[in-house]
Symmetry: C2
Subunit: 452 residues, 2 copies
């Protein structure tokens, strides 16, 4: 009998791999260790849980631990932390609630995810300073803001203007709280580019979120609980803080075992999700993937990437070698009444670093035919390479029809289409859903004109 | 001085060509003949005008005749019908309101559009039997249904369950009328396939449209005005009829001059929109295009195709040869509270005729993450070729997020992607806009499983 397929981490990548491996091979022993209590949960839904739009934390769980055990025959052990990997012996050291033991593996998948970055701010350990790093953390924030009485928070400081920060600003305003959003950079949503950022900033302000751009948070003040955010030039009284400045790959366990990390600090993997160690794979938020535009390693920890890579590895380890596929860094975010989306390379400097000669066009079009009631503007920023005419990336913002419209460009990136090829795509048209020339086509037309 | 660029027909294809040619060459003489009064109008908006959502017929005009003349320096002559083409002499015969004359051309563009098909039904000439073939026709229908008094229509028979029929059913119900929809085939929206058709039929019935499927209309009864639709098995009393059974290319003028027509009856064109006659182009609803999936000529008269081909020809005739590009037959339609969309080859028989060995998968997914409120089902039917694994086409239906989601597959068709390649596209994800695995990806996963 062969050694089991052992998985470290019970969220998207790990459990996708476990499930796929089980479907492909009913006889394989599959053991998954999760250090916490929750498995296979949609962390992306946490802001909406905090907002109160999702009633129960359990609603965010797509498959329960019991279902994995009983329906999928996966030996899933929660409250079991893997603390060491011995690649020579092919074992992992596991600390369970009652015992510490060695577990042999035939194949190992490291799917340890990522953690919220907590900068070393003064006062970061004060009460009511939170990150949104887990389901219990989300539950704690919601229980605090829904609490009644004199201690119930009224003003919240959100540190970080990435998509977690934006989604939390919406959630907290939705709960009737005053919100201050602090962003160190000149704009929110840096990976979405300036066009999107400016539209989102205007939306945040119209929703009475107080924006502090270009503002470095230096610390938090208070006795037991936080009472103020101190920045480089002022002191903003708050009753609660949510930090969302990004995540970092949980790669220490891997690194200690001799697994190579990439430049991003996440685990370096090949096209099949293999690490440099034999029989050891990595997937999800802890791992690098290949960027489809640059061909280089990239670390964009997002849900689909984790699910997809886990599933591919589940297939590979059961005998059907399946590449995990490249990523385009495609992302969408709802910011109050706006949708924002991005894919590929849109930052000029980053494009140059990758060896491209970028050129871009920004257009304003609309979500419906001009004469059809209820339409709203859509702005599209499209970026291409001057030499090859290849599309490199795009970002978009508008009130409707944006989040999934980006997929046209994401598909074009995977296919390596040029701007001229995008210009001549036969996209759908009907008056309620767009102008005759879709905003994507208009952007391509304008950019093609600049390339000629 | 060279002979002018002469255009026959003043709607999308013709005026796109005129406008592009003017931008490319400020000195070229450009003459456009339009036999009616209206130019560059959005006929696709007519159902919404009839519904009353668009106030004025003028709102459907994107650029007025005066603007073409004064701002774009295009010699646009309305009420001028071209009645003959002499390709040897390079002249056209024109009948204006006051005179008949010959006009020499250097390049000729035939952009004569398409006409509503009117089957030879008994009583087709009765009053209150309409087609939606023009802006004035739309105005007449709206003025009839908004009329008050004893003659004001209460019940309308819509003949034809294509998208015009569906949109008109919505418009007429929106105006508070009873609607009977007659379709000869077993399903409405034949080009969208059965999955979509069944969902749309359920929606029509839930909106109190009386469906008569598998029902051949034999004629209309009445004295002066129509009083009933007579089908093969009953007599349905109505006060008004709208016929929308399809369109046919206006190709007689071209054919009489020796222009070759394709099998569809529309004008055969090459990749630059050229006909078999030297210096004679054709574009828009009167012309065939190349299908991107089959590589064969195809006639899918839609707005974007006309705009795009016209624009490319305007560029070609001013010195920059520009292919008109292939079409995928991408289309979207709003049917009350549903969105339906299609692209490529989805009909099994048609795929076989084109030399493919089709296989398909139909899945039900959702428009939002499972836990996010307000989501609704999206059904996707994805078709591929067993031999090559290439995606051949898709159709979708749902309450939201469908009309533009089809563009992912349309783009995949232009790029020739396989099902496996679509399965590994990095599409956007955020809980308000879809599940982690986009419905397109889920369809590809399931179809890939069938292909393995």
């Amino acid at each position: 009998m062969s050694e089991p397929f052992v998985i470290v981490g019970g969220d998207a990548a790990g459990m996708s791999a476990a499930s796929k491996a089980r479907r492909e091979n009913p006889d394989l022993e599959i053991i998954a260790f999760e250090k916490g209590d929750w498995v296979s949960y949609g962390a992306c839904g946490l802001p909406y849980y905090v907002k109160g739009e999702i009633e129960d934390l359990e609603d965010l769980v797509s498959v329960t631990a019991t279902e994995f055990r009983e329906e999928r025959d996966i030996d899933l052990r929660t409250q079991h932390e893997v603390t060491g990997i011995d690649p020579q012996e092919q074992t992992v050291t596991v600390e369970g609630p009652d015992e510490r033991f060695e577990q042999a593996y035939g194949t190992l998948l490291i799917a340890t995810g990522a953690s919220a970055i907590v900068p070393p701010f003064d006062g970061v350990n004060l009460d009511d300073v939170h990150t949104l790093h887990s389901l219990p953390a989300g539950a704690e924030i919601r229980s605090r803001i829904e609490s009644t009485g004199p201690d119930s928070p009224e003003t919240v400081g959100v540190v970080g203007g990435g998509y977690i920060g934006i989604e939390m600003a919406e959630a907290l305003r939705g709960q009737g709280l005053s919100v201050h959003l602090f962003e160190m950079l000149p704009h929110v949503l840096a990976p979405f580019g300036e066009t999107v950022a400016e539209a989102v900033e205007a939306e945040l302000e119209s929703q009475d979120v107080t924006l502090h751009l270009n503002t470095r948070v230096e610390g938090f003040e208070g006795d037991e609980a936080v009472q103020a955010v101190r920045t480089d030039d002022e002191r903003v009284p708050v009753d609660l803080v949510v930090i969302g400045v990004g995540v970092q790959a949980n790669a220490d366990l891997a690194a200690e075992a001799g697994v190579e990390l990439g430049e991003s600090g996440a685990i370096a993997t090949d096209e099949y999700g293999r690490t440099n160690l034999e029989h050891v794979y990595a997937a999800g938020d802890c791992a690098e993937m290949t960027n489809v535009v640059t061909g280089d390693p990239d670390h964009v920890p997002l849900a689909l990437t984790a699910n997809r890579a886990g599933r591919a590895i589940g297939q590979t380890v059961t005998g059907t070698p399946t590449p995990v596929g490249p990523i385009a860094g495609t992302a969408a975010v709802k910011a109050f009444d706006l949708e924002a989306a991005r894919t590929g390379l849109i930052d000029e400097e980053r494009a140059q670093d990758a060896g491209f000669n970028p050129i871009s066009a920004t257009i304003t079009s609309a979500s419906r035919a001009g004469y059809y009631p209820g339409g709203s503007p859509i702005e599209v920023n499209l970026v291409a390479d001057r030499q090859s005419d290849a599309v490199l990336g795009a970002s978009m913002v508008g009130e409707e029809g944006v989040a999934k419209r980006i997929d046209t460009i994401a598909t074009a990136l995977h296919a390596g289409l040029t701007v001229h090829e995008v210009e001549y795509l036969d996209l759908s048209y009907a008056p309620p859903f767009g102008p005759t020339w879709d905003p994507v086509l208009t952007a391509a037309k304008v950019l093609a004109g600049k390339l000629d």
